[in-house]
Every structure is written in structure tokens, then in C-alpha cells.
């Protein structure tokens, strides 16, 4: 299992549905088991990334917040 980030996506400032849809496109570029890091400021992205991971089977490895910027780390299924 990889612990280094394969790709980082900066979705700061962008509203629904871009953080999720762009993350889905990024998933096509990385291999199963690799990690995608997403930065977003849309508060709706917090429940949306939970729901998206449960629907797709990708694993939300880490979520944190720093001054309104959410960071999601997702392992590709």
C-alpha cells in the first residue's frame, strides 16, 4: 500500500460538483492503491466526499481542516 501522494488536486474556491467530478477524473489517472489528495473550500464537499467514497468504494484515508481549507486523502480502490 502506497503512502505517498500520487496526485494533488487544488479545488479551493470551486463549488459543487467540481471538487467531486474533478476528483473522479483524477482517479482515472492514478493506479489502484495510490493516493489522491484534494484541497477544497466548499463546506458541502465534506459530506459529499464521504458519500462519494461510500458509493465508489474508494477509501477516505484522511480528512483535515485548516482555516477553512479542507484536505481529503483518498485511496483509489
Amino acid at each position: 500500500m502506497s503512502t505517498t501522494i500520487a496526485e494533488t488536486l487544488d479545488m479551493k474556491g470551486f463549488a459543487c460538483p467540481l471538487p467531486i467530478t474533478k476528483a473522479a477524473l483524477a482517479m482515472h489517472r492514478i493506479a489502484p492503491g495510490e493516493l489522491l489528495e484534494v484541497f477544497a473550500t466548499d463546506p458541502g464537499s465534506v459530506p459529499d466526499f464521504d458519500a462519494w467514497c461510500s458509493a465508489t468504494g474508494n477509501e477516505l484515508v484522511d480528512r483535515s481542516e485548516d482555516e477553512g481549507v479542507f484536505r481529503f486523502v483518498i485511496r483509489k480502490r
Binding site: 474556491g13 470551486f14 463549488a15 459543487c16 460538483p17 467540481l18 467531486i20 467530478t21 476528483a23 473522479a24 477524473l25 462519494w52 461510500s54 458509493a55 465508489t56 468504494g57
Partner: protein
């Protein structure tokens, strides 16, 4: 034996991920209003992002937003042509369902969307194509309105009918917008 079968069914139900029942999303895009076509594209792109096989059928007024923005008048006869002058086709020209105010409403809505970094309908159409959303124009509406393949934007599926739409919809979440 029966108990074992029930236990098996319960275990299977518990292990089945939440997403399992619906792996398909079908949206019938009937309205050509900006405030309907926009959420249609948001849901369509999100469905595809969730791994759902997503198809959007564009029918009746829903087809006008798929007309290329540089095409001014569509149709083969005077009635079809008149319709397209009363309701200008093209995504750039779609109106709001309410508070249109001769185009001021949509202009404000688009300005607000830009300020809040909400993807425009044009960006969402491009994103939908990137995500593999199938955009299907309704053949009957094309005939009714006198629209031809070269009036429409690129990257669409071949035109199809109600049967195709309903066959796709059989095992899908279906929305009529």
C-alpha cells in the same frame, strides 16, 4: 434450511454496499430553462463521477440548449424557423424559468455563478463528455423542430427514441427535469 437461506440473505444484504442497487442514472432533460438544464448537468456529471453509467436524453425544449451557439435560426419550414426565433437555441441563450426579465436574470445568474466559482453549463457539458456521460438527442424532437445533426454540438450520441430511453431507464434511477 429455510433459516440458513434467510441468514444468508440477511448477511448478503448487510454486505451489499449502499451503491449496489443503482449503477445507472438516466435523466430526461425536457426543459430548456437555464435553471433546469444546469442542475441536470450537475447531477449528470456527479452520477458519472460516482461510477454510475449516466445517460441524459434531451427532448422537446431540452434539445435547444444542444444547438451550437453560432446557429441562429433552425428548422426547415416557416413554423420551425419562427419557433427558433421566438426561443433562440443554444446553451448561451437559454432563459430562466422565472425572473428572466429579457435576459437580465440569466446574465445575473451567470455573473453570480462566476463569482462563486460554480461551473457554467458550457463547462459542465465539456466535463460530462470527459466523464463519459452519454448525451442523447431525441430523434422525434429533431424532426419536429427541424433540427439536423450539424445544428447540434459535437460529442453527442446518435439520436434515439423513447424506446431507447425507457430501455436504458429500466434498471436506473430516472429523473425527469
Amino acid at each position: 434450511m429455510e433459516m440458513a437461506a434467510t441468514a444468508e440473505a440477511v448477511r448478503e444484504a448487510q454486505e451489499t454496499p449502499r451503491h449496489a442497487p443503482h449503477k445507472k442514472l438516466v435523466i430526461m432533460a425536457w426543459s430548456g430553462d437555464l435553471d433546469k438544464i444546469w442542475p441536470t448537468l450537475i447531477l449528470g456529471t456527479t452520477g458519472a463521477a460516482m461510477g454510475m453509467e449516466t445517460t441524459i436524453f434531451f427532448t422537446f425544449w431540452g434539445l435547444f440548449p444542444l444547438v451550437r451557439d453560432d446557429v441562429r435560426i433552425t428548422g426547415d419550414n416557416w413554423m420551425q424557423k419562427l419557433l427558433s426565433t421566438m426561443d433562440r437555441p443554444g446553451l448561451e441563450h437559454v432563459k430562466l424559468g422565472k425572473m428572466n426579465f429579457a435576459g437580465a436574470g440569466p446574465a445575473m445568474m451567470r455573473k453570480l455563478a462566476k463569482e462563486h466559482h460554480v461551473a457554467s453549463p458550457e463547462e459542465l457539458v465539456a466535463l460530462a463528455k470527459d466523464l463519459g456521460v452519454k448525451l442523447v438527442p431525441c430523434q422525434m424532437t429533431m424532426d419536429l423542430l427541424g433540427l439536423h445533426a450539424d445544428d447540434l454540438i459535437d460529442g453527442l450520441e446518435p439520436p434515439a427514441g423513447a424506446t431507447t430511453a425507457l430501455v436504458e431507464a429500466q434498471d436506473a434511477i430516472t429523473l425527469f427535469v
